[in-house]
């Protein structure tokens, strides 16, 4: 479905992708795990054409996203939905208009059809009845669900999720996990999830990839990742502060650093 090949990207001296190659399979849930600042959001944005990598290719439906013009990317985007980290609802529009927005822009459906579609989508995310509220009146978990309803309103083939459970309590996280699985199992939506929530990844993933400061350090089924003997993967899975993944960013020796200053 989506194939990333030899992707490289840097912002100044920060490397967000170092020769990354990976494959996101159709109708599967793939979770890209990594600590914050490891380049997950950047990779996700580049996969949908919201930013170009320094080099490498990203093949989507046989087309290289990194070299498409605006018109062609817009055409492809109609097959994609994205749930942003902060939901990105339009704060000037109520919930109904937020979800209706892509329909009004890209279809000529009548108001009554739009109304029905929105009822269906809100029912899917378990939020029927909030149509007339404003985004600022909803809790974090609820805005994520509205963001998801908006992302799927045009029935995309692929949905991208940026940290769908971050900042949510365990119950709200569980609800989002279930929604991601429902969409995938019932509608066959290819799901690409970027996250640092390991528990959630184990619950929803068909395949997990671990990104560490721009390097893809592991790839496999949840079972394989759980049983991996690679020390970096073990440290990540166990969430321990000590191990091959350094606690500080600089690789300068601490003693040297103190003595030289």
């Amino acid at each position: 479905m989506i194939r990333v090949e030899n992707l490289n990207n840097k912002f100044g001296h920060i490397t967000t992708a170092n020769n990354v190659s990976c494959h996101f399979e159709e109708k599967k849930v793939t979770v890209l795990l990594g600590g914050s600042g490891s380049g997950k959001s950047t990779l996700l944005k580049q996969m949908v054409g919201l930013g170009r990598p320094d080099s490498g290719s990203i093949m989507f439906d046989g087309k290289d996203i990194t070299s498409l013009g605006r018109k062609e990317i817009y055409e492809l985007r109609k097959k994609m939905g994205m749930l942003f980290q902060g939901s990105a609802l339009f704060n000037s529009l109520n919930i109904f208009e937020n979800i209706a927005f892509p329909l009004r822009e890209h279809t000529s459906l009548s108001d009554s059809v739009i109304k029905t579609i929105i009822k269906i989508k809100l029912e899917m995310v378990g939020l029927r009845g909030v149509e007339h509220m404003m985004p600022s009146q909803l809790s974090g978990g609820m805005t994520k669900r509205v963001g998801l309803a908006r992302a799927i309103v045009l029935d995309p083939k692929v949905v991208f999720y940026d940290e769908p459970t971050s900042g949510l309590d365990p119950i709200a996280s569980g609800v989002i996990d279930k929604l991601i699985l429902d969409l995938n199992k019932k509608l066959g939506v290819t799901s690409i999830v970027v996250s640092h929530d390991i528990e959630s990844a184990f619950r929803i993933a068909d395949k997990i990839m671990i990104l560490f400061y721009g390097n893809l350090i592991a790839e496999g089924t949840p079972e394989e990742i759980k049983n991996s003997s690679d020390p970096k993967v073990r440290q990540f899975v166990e969430g321990s502060p000590d191990g091959p993944i350094p606690f500080t960013l600089t690789d300068k020796d601490f003693i040297e650093d103190i003595l030289i200053d």
Partner: protein, 255 residues
Amino acid sequence: MEAIAAIGRGTLGTVQTLGNAGLFILYALWAAVTPPYRFKRVIAEIEFIGAKSFLIIFVTALFTGMVLALQGYYTLSKFGAQGVLGSAVALSIIRELGPVLCALMVTGRAGSAITAEIGIMKITDQVPALEMMAIEPIKFIVSPKIIAALISLPLLTAFFDLVGILGGYLVGVLMLGVNEGSFFGEMIRATEFADIYGGLIKAVAFGFLISWISCFIGYNAKATTEGVSSATTNAVVMTSLSILVIDYVITSVLL
């Protein structure tokens, strides 16, 4: 050497920013005149920039006209020329104070809000969200604001002129007792079509400046809360200064 290099870098940075601002406005204008048109968005923006400014413009204009009449009466009575008070008030307002004060008030009220709105849309990912929905953000957010400002400013300025003259009348005629006939007679005799026309040209130019600068700075704000708040301040300062400079330029060309 360091200093020269720093000046060089600064100049390059400024030239680059100006270039980007130029491309930005060209793109926004081009997007505004190509379909699909966004009439509804333009109407909503006219309501925000124009309609919601009426009260503040009313108060500003009324007091400007009143104080002009007071000051004008004091000066003119030294020459025994109180009769021309009407034309003095009208010409200062129509040619100069109407367009400039109106534009400065709109900058404070709507320009700052535009910058903040666009900046906030950026930090909350609403701009990339539009992109993801295959909608051009500049066409959707910026173009309607530019068109709305181009329409709103001349209308607000005309309203300012009217209320300002009314303020002058209240103080000049009703309070200080200038003859009503000569107040309006002199005004009509001295005011030419070119004065009105020149004032409206300024209004259009200021509408353009306000929307251009506020949108550009908002759109390029650093994606942090501090970034947006400093962008808002910058936009108001930059717009106000540009209005005063461009006002001088237009006046000198029109005279």
